[in-house]
Structures are given as C-alpha cells and as structure tokens.
Amino acid sequence: MDQKHYERRVAARAARSPVFKNCIAAFFFGGGICALGQGLSFLYRALGVPHRTAAALVTASLIFLAALLTGLGVFDKLARIAGAGTLVPVTGFANSVVSPALDTKNEGLVLGVGAKIFTVAGPVLLFGTLAGCIYGVIYAVFYGFFL
C-alpha cells in the first residue's frame, strides 16, 4: 500500500468516526433551529411586533415547540441524532425542564413535578444569575454607582 493510498484510507476512516458525524449533525440541526428562529423573528417583525418583543416571542415559540415535541416523545428521538444540535439552542433548556417534569408525574405534583422541573433549569438559573450578579457588582463599582 503506497503512502497516498494509505492516507486516503485513513481519511475515509476518520470521516466515519462518531465525533465527526456528531459534529456534522449538531451543526445542521443547531444551525437549522437558529435559522428557524431568525425566520420567525422576521415574520413577527413583519407583523408589526417591535424588535425586542419579537426576540422574546421567538424564545417563547421555540420553547413551546420543544415542550410539545418532548410531550409527544419526538424530541428525544431527534436529540439522539442531533446531539448538541438540539441541546444548545433554547430548545434544549426547554426539554431539560419538560422531560423531568413528565418523568416524575407519578411522584406527585408538588415534590415530583414541582421539584424535579428544576433538575437542570435550577443549575442553569443559579449559575446564570450568579454570573450576572458578579458582573453587576464589578460594573457598578467601575462606574461609581456605589458612591
């Protein structure tokens, strides 16, 4: 086997490795969801919704869609192919709220659904607001808001 032949074989093998395939899937699914969001944002703005409200509406729409698909059991099938492609967009956040809520229904509405709904959303909110507060303190000190 000459060098070129060998290199071609290696390249063919590498292309089939799961990491590469996962990344391609993540790129197209994740990019697709963001493009869908952008399209929705144009649609809402065309209907006369102000820019910032349109952005919030896009978030709410994608979360609604993800919650619905999770409830129907479609989201998990998609996520198995898309990997981070459905996880990273706000759809993944929605799924991480809906999924444990569904699973813990039989443990009761308060300590089951009510508590477990924050399984992943809790850490996200905690560290997000924590980072925001740290930034806020630095920002306020820097601009002399405490004086």
């Binding site: 790129f27 994740g30 990019g31 493009a35 990273v88 993944g92 956040f93 929605a94 997000g128 806020g136």
Partner: protein, 121 residues
C-alpha cells in the same frame, strides 16, 4: 434578510459543534454544557462581545443558551443604569423571565397533558 438567516445558521451551528466536541471529547455532561454556555453568555456580555455578535448573527447567538446569558448581562447593566445598584439583583432574572416562565409553564402543561415515554437521556 436571507443573509441574516444564513449568518444565524452557521454561527448557531458552530456553537452547537463546540458543545458537541465538549461532550464527546471531555467528561462534561449535557447539563454542565448548558451551565457553561449560560455563564459564557454572561461573560461575553460583560466584555462587550455579545452585542456586536448579536448584531451580526441575530438568533445565531440569542437562540443558543449563550443568548440567555447575554440577556442576563444586558439586563443587569441596563437595570443598574435605570435603578442604580439594586439593578445588580433585579436585572438578571427580569431579562431571563420570558425564557424561564415559558419553560416552566409549558413544561408543567406538558407534564399534565402527556404521558412519559421510555427514553434515554
């Protein structure tokens, strides 16, 4: 307009590829990746990178969870300007309120109306 959709596509896609690499090549679990992305978003907002990135890619940065963080950073900053130091405490969750409330309400409704299906996380 089409250019904006395309920019949202590839920038958003790249955020997802980075997360996929973190999951496949490191020990980070999906939940940790989400937390990392929110904090990354706050950081990008704090150093002034988030806003220009948002102007370029729109939903390509606001739809991935970094957008949640970016919104928190912007909310804190704006609340400090309008209300003073109390904005440190009020700005973050105010900015995150739509996403959080939508996820909780739709999540609860889904739990009421649907039955759990066997799945792997």
């Amino acid at each position: 307009m089409l250019v904006d959709v395309l920019n949202a596509f590839w920038v958003g896609g790249l955020f997802c590829v980075l997360a996929q690499l973190l999951i496949d090549l490191t020990k980070l679990t999906p939940a940790r990746v989400l937390v990392f992305y929110v904090v990354l978003g706050v950081f990008l907002g704090a150093v002034g990178v988030y806003e220009p990135l948002y102007d370029f890619a729109g939903c390509g940065v606001s739809v991935p969870l970094v957008g949640f963080g970016g919104a928190i950073a912007r909310g804190v900053r704006e609340a400090i300007h309008t209300d003073g130091a109390i904005g440190i405490l009020s700005g973050g969750l105010t900015a995150a309120s739509v996403g959080t409330t939508a996820a909780l309400v739709f999540g609860y409704l889904a739990a009421i109306f649907f039955k759990s299906k066997p799945k792997r996380m």
